[in-house]
């Protein structure tokens, strides 16, 4: 099993926000987690990344338990997160941000080739490469956030609302980039508020409601499901 999350219970202080959350991601698959605001999507991704520690439950990656490993160890094993709100390094240049993406030994050796690839994918970033990240536009910043995690050559890429706050043209661009990555064999775990888009490109999806997984299925099936259409697509 590539990524297996089983019975996660996560708290903020005394407040429980994830309840027995279990799901799986197979190699080369694209899986999306859907849920309304405050459902616990970000919490789930942060727990997988080791930023939050679960009270109970287990996380396996490539058949190895990673549950209580620190973030940098998890990153070393090939899991990369594009966090909610991007979290770029504001005082670093675009190039420096990208180089930080390739901080891991494995990625570092190939950093110049990867940098080239990433600039091909996002030509606009190359034009801005000497600019300090805090001066980028919202769309450019989002591209940089995605590009930065690609620099780590992840085997599992987790994206937390990558299209948030982007103009429609840019949303298209970002989804194109994600599809592109999938075709190249990257496994993707996507959290998206753009539910229709997410389900359309994902192989499978899970619905997270108030910290509990309530439904799972193939992306296309979920798109057709009455429940999803009512709750998330407003049709």
């Amino acid at each position: 099993m590539f990524l297996e999350v089983s019975n996660l219970n996560v708290y903020y202080g005394m407040v429980q926000v994830l309840w027995d959350v279990s799901f799986k991601v197979e190699e080369r698959e694209m899986v999306t987690i859907i849920g309304s605001n405050g459902a616990g999507k970000t919490t789930t991704l942060l727990t997988i990344s080791g930023v939050l520690k679960p009270k109970s439950g287990k996380i396996f990656f490539k058949n190895e338990e990673i549950t209580n490993l620190p973030s940098h160890e998890i990153s070393k094993r090939g899991i990369s997160l594009v966090p909610e709100g991007r979290r770029l390094f504001p005082n670093l240049t675009v190039t420096e941000n990208l180089l930080m993406g390739a901080y891991n030994q494995r990625a570092r050796e190939q950093r110049f080739e990867t940098l080239k690839e990433v600039f091909e994918l996002f030509p606009r970033l190359e034009e801005r490469k000497k600019q300090v990240a805090r001066t980028l536009s919202g769309g450019e910043a989002q591209m940089l956030a995605i590009a930065r995690s690609l620099m780590s050559k992840p085997s599992l890429l987790m994206l937390d609302e990558p299209s948030l706050g982007l103009a429609p043209v840019l949303v298209e661009e970002v989804f194109e980039a994600i599809k592109n990555l999938k075709e190249r064999g990257t496994t993707i775990l996507l959290v998206e508020q753009n539910v229709a888009k997410g389900l359309e490109i994902a192989d499978r999806g899970y619905i997270l409601e108030n910290g509990k997984i309530t439904l799972e299925g193939r992306g296309k099936d979920l798109l057709k499901s009455e429940k999803v259409r009512k709750a998330y697509l407003a049709i």
Partner: protein, 288 residues
């Protein structure tokens, strides 16, 4: 009061400003990356000055040459202090952090008082002595050497921070430690190294300060106060901000000494600081 004296004091103040910047840089680096204010900073300088004194005495080498020992010793000292003390409060609330580092200050100061007594100690072995004349003015060799070394260390550090992976990672961690960890930076290890590096910088400065100053157990107070003011003034402007603030403080003291009592030179630094808070509350280079 002569113009010559004024210019002479300006020269001395400027030279001193470089080493002020270097001392403050040790603090700025630690504060910038770890968000912790080390109130024991000045005491670290004082201990490094004593270390210079004793190594110079025992090995019968010039004070300036001890730097090859004091810097690595202080790097290790920094790592030990980090592991034993700072690491325990790095995630605690600011109040605990302040209490702990003020504890360090008191511990080191009292230790120095008990072990080395109050009378000032100066180097026995010196090579950086005398001075040379430029027109009407005397340039002290020891102060000039100290200024040059300070500037060189500042430049080297600037190159490390901007041109090496390690340096970029230091700045990234300082910007956002969670994001850095998500990309594979071992943040705790980074903190340990940066604290050690800050202490090594302190030691380099201290070994050269000893070439023109004596050390006594209370020396740390001056260095601590100067450093906090300089970091507050220029810290957010990065390396060049710290350098500019250090020079301003050095020059201000030079001017003060010309017109008033030298014993008030710290007071002037504070006046300057208060004025700055009035007009530029975010520091000279505040942009955040």
């Amino acid at each position: 009061m002569s113009l010559e004296l004024f210019i002479q004091n300006l020269i001395n103040g400027t030279l001193l400003g470089f080493v002020y910047s270097l001392v403050a840089l040790g603090l700025a680096l630690q504060f910038g990356v770890m968000d912790i204010i080390n109130f024991g900073h000045g005491e670290f300088v004082m201990v490094a000055m004593y270390l210079t004194f004793w190594i110079s005495l025992f090995l019968a080498i010039p004070g300036s040459a001890t730097v090859v020992l004091t810097a690595p010793i202080f790097f290790v000292f920094g790592i030990i202090i980090y592991k034993l003390v700072i690491d325990k409060v790095i995630e605690a609330q600011p109040l605990s952090q302040i209490a702990v580092t003020i504890g360090l200050l008191i511990l080191l100061r009292n230790f120095a008082l008990a072990a080395w007594h109050a009378e000032p100690k100066g180097l026995q072995y010196q090579v950086l002595v005398g001075g040379f004349k430029v027109g009407d003015y005397v340039i002290s060799i020891s102060r000039l050497a100290t200024a040059i070394v300070s500037l060189v260390v500042l430049i080297v550090l600037h190159l490390i921070l901007t041109k090496t992976y390690f340096g970029i990672a230091i700045r990234a961690t300082s910007d956002d430690k969670v994001a850095a960890a998500l990309l594979g930076v071992n943040v705790k290890k980074m903190y340990t190294l940066v604290f050690g590096l800050g202490c090594a910088i302190i030691a380099i400065a201290a070994s050269f300060i000893m070439t023109f100053q004596q050390v006594e157990p209370m020396s740390g107070m001056t260095w601590g106060l100067l450093s906090w003011v300089i970091v507050a003034m220029g810290g957010l402007g990065g390396l060049s901000g710290v350098l500019a603030a250090g020079l301003i403080v050095g020059i201000a003291q030079g001017i003060e000494i010309t017109f008033w009592d030298p014993r008030a030179s710290l007071a002037i630094v504070y006046l300057l600081f208060i004025l700055l808070l009035w007009f530029k509350p975010k520091g000279l280079f505040g942009k955040r």
